[in-house]
Amino acid sequence: MARIIVVTSGKGGVGKTTTAASLAMGLALRGNRTAVIDFDVGLRNLDLIMGCERRVVYDFVNVINQEAHLRQALIRDKRCEDLYILPASQTRDKEALTKEGVGRVLEEMSEEFDYVICDSPAGIEKGAFLAMYYADDAIVVSNPEVSSVRDADRMIGILSSKSRRAELGEEPIKEHLLLTRYDPKRVERGEMLSVDDVLEILALPLLGVIPESQAVLNASNEGIPVILDEKSNAGQAYRDAVARYLGEDLPQRFIRPERKGLIGRLFGG
């Protein structure tokens, strides 16, 4: 039985897809059979971030409509044989997703995989609802910025009241907070909410803090999940987050500005 993990946020553009791609790769690199599903029907992106856009034949909606078998639609990653991608359809809209259909596909996937990661679309409409409905774990992605924190809070409320687990009165979805696009320098200058500020408001266990990093843009340009860029801060931060998800206790790195030398400090402002 797979664990189903939703990567969600409420607000758009906070780094869900970046996170889903790196998390999936991170789990698969550790030998877990992992699949990542793009729930953003009509605005698919995950295939680009994973670098498999040239291999899409069938998509999630085809599988839901039983126009294709799951195994025809799953794309196997070329870098990691335990990782599969189920792309979204670009020519349909979110109405093509049904609760029963999604449930059926997730059930089938549960038999083959250890982890199934659902990359949620933004918003709190149908697509986002279905992405979280069947989840066992939720990774709530937020930026240290007011509207994103507020939307994350809204999403946390939805997770605890509208999910299948909530409806059946089962143990609630396990929630984790991932703070992305964190800029320690701006936090130090008092221009950006700090990790502690956000934790105080959202009160969720912290899975990790991903620094703002040019490496993320470079990685998505090349279709490589940033976790594979081992030299980058963001890549290392995602590795730590995966390790924490799997139960390791690691200190937070990258939440303080990198210190320049003394000269740099005097003249760099």
């Binding site: 034949v57 126009e67 670009q90 020519t91």
Partner: protein, 218 residues
């Protein structure tokens, strides 16, 4: 003859799925006789036949026969004056983008090609039913163009193009600048990654030779 193959007894879901298929190709289903096939379900499955018949008729189809089903259901179907077919499979026409059903019984009357003069953008989908498709502009990434006949694209083809979607292997795709995500003739396809570098960005035609999909630069 289209076959509605039931895999679930939940008629609401079935009807919703059907409606989506019909929306995709409304003309194809208009006044089409259909066979209801329940042979995939266990004999004792409870099926609300009256509801299904009503839904099919509402969508413009004419249910004519039942295949499979237990004695109770077959009796009900007979009362509704449906023909009862044996369990043995009959040739079927499936309505998915890439399947290859047999050609229609009589050749359709010649029809004019569908002409598209505006760019086809990501997320858009154009289907020339029963005819050729001529696109004068570009077809973007994430766009999909389909035709029962040939496809001509005079702009750059970056999206997907599927010709002969009802199984006519004689159909071809012609395009001025091939950068497609996918090209397909009668269900045989080639994805972007498998495109030969020699044809990428070139003026090409795509056609079937026996069972092989050929992409040839002019």
């Amino acid at each position: 003859m289209p076959i509605v193959r039931l895999r679930s007894t939940d008629m609401m879901t079935v009807a919703a799925q059907l409606r989506r298929s019909v929306e995709r190709a409304p003309e194809f289903f208009r006044r089409a006789p259909v066979v209801i096939d329940v042979s995939a379900l266990p004999d004792e499955a409870e099926i609300n036949l009256a509801y299904l018949l009503g839904q099919l008729q509402q969508m413009g189809m004419i249910p004519v026969a039942l295949r499979g089903g237990g004695p109770a259901l077959r009796e009900l179907a007979a009362a509704q004056r449906l023909a009862l077919l044996a369990d043995a499979p009959v040739p079927e026409t499936r309505v998915t983008e890439t399947s290859s059903p047999p050609p229609p019984p009589s050749p359709p009357p010649p029809s004019k090609a569908m002409l598209v003069t505006q760019p086809v953008r990501s997320g858009q989908r154009i289907y020339a039913r029963g005819s050729d498709l001529v696109v004068l502009a570009a077809v973007g990434y994430g766009a999909e163009i389909m035709a029962d006949g040939h496809i001509h694209v005079y702009g750059t083809l970056r999206g997907r193009a599927l010709a002969g979607v009802h199984g006519d292997k004689g159909c071809r795709i012609f395009c001025r600048d091939l950068q497609a995500e996918l090209v397909s003739i009668a269900g045989h396809y080639r994805i972007s990654e498998d495109l030969d570098e020699a044809v990428r960005g070139r003026t090409v035609q795509v056609y079937m030779r026996d069972t092989a999909l050929i992409i040839e630069a002019f």
